[in-house]
Amino acid sequence: MIRDFIASWPLFHDAYVAGWLIAVLLAVVGVLVVARNQIFLGAAVAQTSTLGIALGMWLGSALGVEALAGDHAHGALSLIGVGFAVLAALLTARGGSGAQEAATGWLFLAAASGATLVLAASPHGLEEIKHLVSSSIIGATANDVWLFAALALISIGGVVLTRDRLLLFAIDPSMAVAVGMRASVWNAAVAAWLGLVVGLATRATGLLYTFGCLVLPPLAAASLCRESAALFWVAPLLAVASGLAGFVVANHLDLPPAQMAVALQALVVGAAWGVGRRAR
């Protein structure tokens, strides 16, 4: 099995490395998503990104600039998806939990239906949307490797410098304000970063892999750790381990690697819940 994987390395190494880097990046950011009870927000932001990508494809076709739109999500116009994701995260990050839940639900449904309708008349439109939603890491490029390595380093650096502030902000915003943190600034910064990384990850790998890496490793880590601070290194570790195992198994069985990695992450979460329950 390992030998098969090594044999596939020259052909797919960019896809594999980009997949692992995306997993690390999203798992780090996902700790805050899970800690702030915003899992559905993560799904809605990723879904909004697909609407932006769909609009980019449609715009490219309509304007006759196929070179910018491309024949898949890597076209330059698909960067609209990143913008949409950042906007969605910023718009839904504020407000009370009830209002936020309603806005998130509205966003998810509007984006999901809109993405399909925008490309419904296009010859390969629905196929593109299906491709984007179901995910694939195979299209990831060398540029993606550099991009996500840089984003992962920035995220890890940010966590190292501000870990306790991030946790206090996630656990008790009122106390965070009391100790001098500016809640609105932190809220906007965290939301913008979430939108950016989710938008870029969705563009590179699709919705399923992005959403899976965003929430499943932090959920598993939450069941295995005793303290929240440990989530910031346990979650990325689990994400990489699942990605590594997932890509190797998928290669051996000739199955799609992104789906295999997410399926393994889901299994790890189930096992972690069992372990966590037994430990309690």
Binding site: A178, V179, G180, A222, E227
Partner: protein
């Protein structure tokens, strides 16, 4: 951020409101509030729901800028390192793992301390809050009363000169309420911590308050507890004619509030 800061002349004064007006979206909630809080005073903020108690706290915490007037903190409180806050409730996501040590340690955010000093402060706060020995226990394994103590410990770990508590004993049974208030009274007496305590429990105010702020009709009456904790004042604050039902309970001989400032 406080919109208006002026030097507080008296070094004992930690908080000074001068003709302070506060509100939301241009609609004033409190008007022309004057208040002086000194070190070692135990203030109770009393009044009906919606009278502006939490609004004033929000302003003191820097979450609400004054619409008019001035609100000044002692310079030692400017960077918030000596300010502690216990919110009405803290509801972290229950799937989030945390120990008592980690939860209380988050109160140290913004303070620059070495490892030994951090440990010393944690030990001191946990001991004062009656949580010594529970450092490694999961926060989620604590009882409701212990969680409230953990909130108090998280504020104490900052060694505050000014401690603000927003209805911290709501929904707690009598024994836990007593334990928390005894702890606060000891801090006021031994550390000269100034305390702002929002509550609806008049009997508690009667036993522990050195000073009282009565919120009603957009204004605040403030002064020594002995002057304001009278039926006619309380009746005025709560808008009840006569005020017979608003008499605090008779003083309990066990309570020992420290009233050096009266």
């Amino acid at each position: 951020m406080l919109a208006a800061r002026e030097p507080v002349p008296d070094d004992d004064i930690l908080l000074a409101a001068n003709r302070l007006t506060l509100g939301y979206g241009g609609a004033p909630v409190l008007r022309e509030v004057d208040l002086r809080v000194r070190a070692g005073e135990f203030w109770f903020l009393l009044g009906p729901n919606g009278a502006g108690k939490t609004t004033l706290l929000r302003a003191v915490l820097g979450a609400l800028p004054p619409a008019a007037g001035q609100l000044a903190l002692h310079p030692s409180l400017d960077d918030r390192t000596a300010l502690g806050f216990v919110p009405q409730r803290c509801t972290p996501n229950p799937i989030l793992p945390t120990t008592v040590r980690e939860f209380v340690g988050l109160g140290l955010v913004g303070l620059t301390l070495d490892g030994r000093e951090r440990q010393a402060r944690l030990a001191w706060a946990l001991a004062h809050a009656g949580l010594a020995g529970l450092e490694r226990r999961s926060y989620w394994a604590l009882s409701g009363g212990q969680r409230q103590r953990a909130l108090v410990a998280r504020a104490l770990v900052r060694r505050p000169r000014l401690l603000i508590l927003d209805e911290p004993t709501n929904h707690l049974d009598f024994l836990i309420e007593e334990a928390i208030l005894a702890l606060l009274a000891a801090l006021q007496r031994d550390e000269r911590t100034a305390i702002l305590f929002v509550t609806h429990a008049l009997h508690v105010a009667e036993r522990y308050a050195t000073h009282v702020a009565l919120f009603h009709g957009g204004t605040v009456e403030s002064g020594p507890a002995a002057e304001l904790l009278r039926p006619e004042c309380l009746a005025r604050a709560y808008g009840i004619t006569g005020g017979a039902g608003l008499q605090p309970r008779p003083r309990d001989s066990r309570a020992q509030p420290h009233r050096e400032t009266e």
